[in-house]
């Protein structure tokens, strides 16, 4: 090791070293602040920084007792230039136990959120200012407990808007029940449902119904199964065959119940069979392989794809196209919609899938729900237009009123 040092700093380098040393001593201000601080810290500074002051621990409001927020005034030695603080460490004692480090805060920081607490426990905190010359501990906070709140008032506007929409839904349901006809615009894809079933009947071929590859905890699957109820009712009337391979066991049970109920409603319970719906596998592409096989072997005249889809959408829709089936698809998955649009005859885009059951059934409850949702959309549209105009005018001509309107609207729709 010594040999290496001797080779690096040879006699030839000595004059340069003398010049650099002299320049450093004569012109200390030429060096950057950061280098200077590091130099002082490493070699010259043995004095620890001053501790943080005014440390306060407070329970986070309107949460589930999951966080405590700390604030403090940074150490007076926490400065950008020539500062003695390189960061802060946060220590915590739980229920009177020993103190353990729960996190770090950077230089210049004055707050920290401890999101590892459990509600009901008592916590005490202190903050340590860390510098090259040592560290300084703050005073300890008063004991604090993370409380659970029943109501999250940060979401009061969410509640209010939800209440308006829910109220609209109830109002429209009652209106529909009283016999008033509620207008729903024509949805092309749904107009074609009965026609597609009729075609399969005439051709003597089955109908294939795919409700996506997700489970019953997905609203799109539920929407697909709801439409299945209407489709199955028409199939029962026409005495057509339905084929529904599924990739989730719960969907199989729900689909069987739905079809059975539809056959019962059509007065044809004897025509129902559990074999109409069969489980294949949970594996996405294993399921697709099976569906493709069914398509090319049984050649269904009509294929419905209504639910949540992923990469399997185009594979199935392309196979359906290759066998000449009428295809009606519907999903709210933005990445899969393009594939259905190009490969299917009719596609229900996003919200249309959820509107479908109301449109097809004409039931007061579903129609009222759809109308109520339209009220929600109208509110959202109005707020977006007013907000955009207000913020644009406010910022262009410095009109406080407009800026305040935009800020208020933003705060109303802020969810956190």
């Amino acid at each position: 090791m010594t040999g290496v040092t001797c080779r690096c700093i040879s006699r030839a380098h000595l004059p340069w070293l003398v010049i650099i040393l002299a320049a450093t001593l004569l012109f200390p201000s030429v060096s950057s602040g950061e280098t200077n601080t590091a130099f002082v810290g490493v070699v010259g500074d043995t004095v620890p920084p001053a501790p943080v002051t005014s440390l306060i621990a407070s329970d986070r409001k309107y949460d589930n007792g999951e966080a405590i927020d700390l604030t403090w005034v940074p150490s007076i030695d926490d400065r950008l230039l020539h500062g003695k603080v390189i960061g802060y460490r946060i220590y915590r004692s739980e229920n009177g136990g020993e103190y353990k480090k729960v996190g770090d805060a950077g230089k210049g920081d004055s707050q920290f959120s401890d999101e590892t607490v459990s509600h009901g426990n008592r916590y005490v905190y202190y903050v340590v200012a860390v510098g090259p010359g040592g560290q300084a501990e703050s005073i300890h906070t008063a004991p604090i407990i993370a409380e659970r709140e029943w109501i999250n008032f940060n979401r009061k506007y969410l509640f209010l808007i939800g209440l308006i929409i829910a109220g609209s839904v109830v109002y429209f349901i009652e209106t529909a029940r009283r016999g008033k006809k509620l207008f729903i615009r024509r949805i092309a894809g749904l107009e074609a449902v009965d026609e597609a079933i009729g075609r399969a009947t005439e051709m003597g071929r089955p109908i294939l119904f795919i409700s996506g590859t997700q489970d019953m905890d997905n609203v799109q699957t539920i929407a697909g199964i709801t439409i299945l109820g209407h489709v199955a009712r028409t199939i029962a009337d026409y005495d057509t065959k339905i084929r529904m391979p599924v990739s989730r066991s719960l969907v199989m049970t729900a689909a069987r119940e739905t079809i059975k109920t539809s056959y019962l409603a059509a007065g044809r319970p004897d025509a129902y069979s559990d074999d109409m719906v069969n489980y294949v596998t949970d594996e996405q592409f294993g399921y697709v392989a099976a569906v493709n096989g069914i398509m090319v072997r049984e050649k269904p005249a009509t294929c419905f794809y209504l639910g949540a889809f992923f990469a399997e959408s185009l594979i199935m829709a392309e196979t359906g196209y290759s066998i000449g089936a009428i295809q009606i698809a519907g999903t709210a998955m933005p990445t899969q919609l393009p594939f259905f649009v190009v490969a299917c005859d009719f596609t229900l885009i996003g919200e249309e899938l959820f509107a479908a059951s109301a449109y097809l059934s004409n039931e007061p409850k579903q129609l009222g729900s759809l109308k109520g949702q339209d009220v929600g959309k109208a509110i959202a549209l109005a707020v977006m237009i007013i907000g955009t105009i207000a913020v644009t005018v406010g910022q262009s001509w410095n009109i406080d009123l407009m800026n305040n309107i935009a800020d208020w609207l933003n705060s109303v729709f802020k969810t956190n």
Binding site: G286, A289, G387
Partner: protein, 219 residues
């Protein structure tokens, strides 16, 4: 030596199954049917075992009878277990109707939980993010940004109008809805191209396997 043999067996099996599935592009055939049956059988068996050990044993059994003596039993899991047993009652026709209860529970809970989640993420956040200045003195933006902001605002407003079901798409309202569906189709076109590229990369992965790992043509 055994490892080398097993490696080659696995390699040839994977290549055989890959080519079998790809053969569907030509037409349905016995090779594809075989691969399809293998795929479905193995995956269904795998998921059965996975659900059994992860859920029934890992969550339900160990939750009620924890192996760690310091951990208290979580008896609330018995409700889930009971709902699971009720699902199986379908196998007994006389009381099979009880299997509708867990289904109703799942659908109801899903609708209730998702109502708030979707409303917050798909409505509130969307509205908040749309309220942005198109242009302005205090907002330093290039002409490109301004055009982009206007396109986003108009696209959002008109696409939302398309999804109104209470009013016929006629007149100015219908015109706005037409712009909305046009915006949606342009978005779908861009998304289509992007996703196709990712599918191409999947195809390349398979070709790389066949030509590289299996045949050794590509190094």
């Amino acid at each position: 030596m055994d490892g080398v043999i097993m490696h080659h067996v696995a390699l040839w099996t994977a290549a055989f199954l890959t080519l079998g599935i790809i053969s569907f592009l030509y037409r349905d055939n016995a090779w594809y049917k075989f691969c399809e049956a293998v795929f479905i059988g193995i995956s269904a068996g795998y998921w059965f075992v996975s659900y059994f050990w992860d859920n029934l044993y890992g969550k339900l059994w160990l939750g009620i009878f924890p192996t760690d003596p310091t951990q208290p039993p979580d008896y609330i899991l018995l409700i889930g277990g009971a709902l699971g047993v009720m699902m199986l009652l379908r196998l007994i026709p006389k009381i099979g109707w009880l299997s509708r209860w867990p289904l109703a529970f799942i659908v109801g809970a899903t609708a209730g939980l998702n109502l708030i989640i979707y409303f917050a993420s798909n409505v509130m956040v969307q509205v908040e993010d749309t309220i942005r200045p198109l242009f302005g003195a205090n907002y330093a933006a290039s002409a490109y940004d301004i055009v982009g902001n206007i396109v986003v605002a108009v696209g959002t407003f008109t696409a939302l109008i398309y999804f109104f079901f209470s009013k016929e798409h006629k007149g100015a309202f219908g015109g706005a809805a037409k712009v909305g569906i046009f915006v949606l189709m342009v978005t779908f076109g861009a998304s289509f191209g992007y996703t196709v590229m990712s599918r191409i990369s999947l195809l390349l992965g398979r070709i790389d396997f066949l030509m590289g790992d299996w045949l050794g043509v590509i190094k």
